[in-house]
């Protein structure tokens, strides 16, 4: 089994916490893992991505070849479209619908969402609202991860275990609210895929 994921967002939106959770979950399953990140200048409000590769066999390249990603997981709608050339035929686009507008020529959000809907395999959700509903606005990233979990060859329990380890130092309450966020994301996908 092999899952290649492009994580997308804007610098400062915290896609690395998603990456860390997936990484923990993969390690929990004794899988091979490579995860390339963006640090430095581009982090300051620019478009950022992380290439995450998980496999039961050793992995060669740190970068995912174009046309081979199984999942694009984006915490920002316009950013989800930037990496379409990487998505393989039949791959899934999973994206948050809340825009992060820090440029003055950001397109109309309706047009962005319409472009996303053109993708045959897409899941788009308002992760910020879902996170607010469960009382933890900061967990919208984990809602997004939850929404992508059905497309991994990793059990949902492993993701829950990943959350427990990543948030271990922050206490039981934070762990629970994030597991709740993870489940809310998964439930959305199960109902809407």
């Amino acid at each position: 089994m092999k899952t290649d994921i492009i994580l997308a967002g804007v610098g400062g939106q915290g896609i690395l916490s998603i990456a860390a959770t997936i990484g923990m979950s993969a390690l929990h399953n004794n899988l091979h893992l490579k995860q390339a990140e963006v640090h430095g200048m581009s982090q300051r409000g620019g478009a950022v991505q992380s290439n995450m590769r998980i496999s039961d066999k050793p992995i060669s390249s740190d970068l995912i070849p174009m046309g081979e990603a199984d999942i694009i997981l984006s915490v920002e709608p316009m950013e989800s479209l930037r990496y379409l050339p990487y998505l393989k035929k039949g791959g899934w686009l999973v994206t948050n619908t809340t825009p992060f507008i820090n440029i003055n020529n950001y397109p109309e959000i309706e047009e962005v969402l319409a472009e996303i809907k053109k993708q045959k395999n897409h899941i788009s959700l308002d992760a910020d609202s879902i996170a607010a509903e469960i009382g933890s606005k900061r967990s919208s990233n984990i809602v997004m991860l939850g929404a992508a979990t059905p497309f991994f060859d990793i059990s949902f329990e492993s993701f829950e275990e990943g959350i427990r380890q990543i948030f271990a130092r922050k206490g039981e309450d934070i762990i629970n609210v994030n597991i709740q966020a993870l489940r809310a994301g998964r439930d959305f996908t199960e109902k809407n895929r």
Binding site: V10, G12, G23, E37, V38, H39, D62, N102
Partner: protein
């Protein structure tokens, strides 16, 4: 032995810790910063008194590392590729002095310039210095090379250059560690004159370096990091260096690779293995991240007249980072793409953070400069370089660390008026002070803005050596106290800021203006908060 999930940078740090270092010296620079940060965060390093404080710049780091080596202990020095330019004087000469304790210099190159001013290839420096060089294929090798590099360095009494690129530096993978080695005891160099590079001694030392070349090349022939993998299809031979091997193998996940492959990880390049490939194959493709260093060398190695293809003939792009698709093209494989980027997707360049003090300083500067006109602001390397982009369009240069003050001086010497330099606090102590002394000694009419946010911001908020010292430094080198002006860059202070800037722009001599406000990214840093209270800066 344990298995850890580490960035390439972190793997190097762990390899150095397990390899028995007594200290690490560095100035922050993407993509090398996380090596030193890993040691700073390590309990093992704390318990064992391993030095890890930041240095003021790469040159002082290199020299301190060499000093620790002189004292018999193992040291690591880390920097980004352009940092090696700053450290070059000490670096090149360290190959002439040789070392006592093992010394590894890590230089992290940034092909495609993700966060840099150029994409120079540090391997030129390794060749220039004539020392052994290591270039890992993955995080595991990055760990092992740092670990093994100390033996190599002590065996040949030479510094070793460990070269990585962005992609490995900032990619995470599992790493298995080796047995922890103890630190060296203090010992003097066996030859107490070898570090005295007076011409008469330097000439002897240089001959020693030259006579060492055959043995370090022999070490490359034997190295576990160089591998000749034979193949039946000799129409094409393939040479890879470092992570380029991964991009090659990525293209053979579901098909057999029949060509001979030489995977290079240790330099000087293994001449015998290279010649074997040149002799046996009809054509040789060189895949390397960075400049065509090996490709150019091979052209000089020619005995067989074998065509060599790679970055020089356009088989691979001459510039930029490699990836699996570029290597697929070079091998003649087709890539079929399903999706394209919709037209409505707009570029999202990096920008200064909401609430950043640099923004207020630039707004004031732009207004104060209206009477003088545009095009007279020389800037430097840091977050404030982003002031070059709209809507600010506030600065006209970014060349190298410290160049703001000295370029402003040159322009003022040429007769330009209203000349301004903009530099950050950390860059000022890195390489700005010497330029300021030049200005003071001639009383050059320049206005120097030291935008002080108490940190090295661009690389993620590391310590600034300038903290609490800027006015003292400026006064100490001779700036008149009346022309050292400090204010807090906030929208509500705009009038005051513009007024101060106008006054200093009119002054016919050296002025230093210090807009001073904490970087918004460091608000959660408790250690810094305490320091600011103690220094009365909060």
């Amino acid at each position: 032995m344990q298995k850890l999930l580490l960035l390439g940078d972190e793997a190097i740090a762990q390899g150095a810790l397990d390899g028995g270092i007594s200290g690490i010296y560095a100035y922050p620079g993407t993509p090398s910063t996380e090596i030193t940060e890993y040691v700073q965060a390590s309990n093992f390093a704390k318990e064992n008194n391993i030095h890890s404080d930041w240095s003021v710049n790469e040159k002082t780091a290199m020299e301190a590392g060499l000093g620790m080596s002189y004292a018999g202990k193992r040291a690591m020095v880390c920097m980004k590729h352009v940092g090696l330019n700053v450290a070059a004087d000490a670096f090149i000469n360290s190959s002439i002095t040789g070392v006592n304790g093992g010394l590894i210099v890590v230089s992290a190159d940034d092909p495609s310039m993700h966060s840099s001013q150029n994409e120079q290839d540090s391997r030129f420096y390794g060749n220039f210095a004539m020392i052994p060089m290591l270039e890992p294929v993955n995080q595991q090798e990055a760990y092992e090379m740092a670990y093994y590099g100390y033996e190599l360095s002590e065996k040949y009494k030479l510094p070793v250059l460990l070269r990585i690129t962005t992609r490995l530096a900032h990619s995470r993978a599992g790493v298995e560690t080796l047995e922890q080695k103890p630190q060296n005891d203090i010992s003097l160099p066996s030859n107490l004159t070898q570090f005295v590079l007076l011409p008469s001694i330097a000439r002897k030392q240089y001959k020693i370096l030259l006579s060492n070349q055959a043995s370090i090349e022999a070490a490359s022939e034997e190295s576990i990091f160089n591998k000749y993998i034979d193949g039946s299809d000799k129409k094409l031979g393939i040479i890879t260096t470092g992570i380029a091997y991964n991009y090659l193998m990525e293209n053979f996940q579901d098909k057999e690779l029949k060509h001979p492959v030489l995977k290079i990880g240790q330099y000087p390049i293994p001449r015998k293995q290279v010649n074997k490939m040149l002799k046996e194959c009809d054509k040789v493709l060189v895949i390397e991240e960075g400049y065509p260093v090996v490709e150019e060398m091979l052209k000089g190695y020619q005995e067989a007249g074998t065509p060599i293809i790679g970055r020089l003939d356009g088989t691979l792009p001459r510039d930029g980072e490699l990836n699996p698709n570029l290597v697929a093209n070079a091998l003649g494989f087709e890539t079929v793409l399903d999706g394209t980027i919709p037209e409505l997707v707009k570029n999202r360049p990096p920008s200064m953070c909401v609430g950043c003090g640099h923004i207020d300083a630039y707004n004031a500067l732009n207004e104060a400069l209206i009477p003088y006109g545009v095009g007279r602001v020389f800037s430097d390397i840091g977050c404030y370089t982003l002031g070059a982009l709209p809507p600010y369009n506030a600065v006209n240069s970014c060349v190298d660390m410290g160049a703001s003050i000295t370029m402003a001086k040159g322009a003022a010497d040429a007769g330009m008026i209203g000349v301004v330099a903009v530099i950050g606090d950390s860059t000022f102590t890195h390489s700005g002070i010497t330029g300021l002394i030049d200005c003071v000694s001639e009383n050059t009419p320049v206005t120097i803005i030291i935008s002080d946010n108490f940190t090295t911001g661009m690389t993620g908020g590391q310590d600034s050596k300038a903290l609490g010292k800027i006015e003292d430094i400026c006064e100490g080198v001779g700036v008149h106290p009346d022309h050292i002006r400090v204010f807090k860059p906030l929208k509500k202070n705009m009038e005051e800021m513009v007024q101060i800037m106008k006054e200093e722009l009119e002054y016919n001599g050296v002025s230093v203006i210090i807009p001073r406000r904490q970087c918004v990214q460091t608000m959660k840093n408790k250690k810094l908060a305490e320091q600011l209270i103690n220094l009365n800066l909060k």
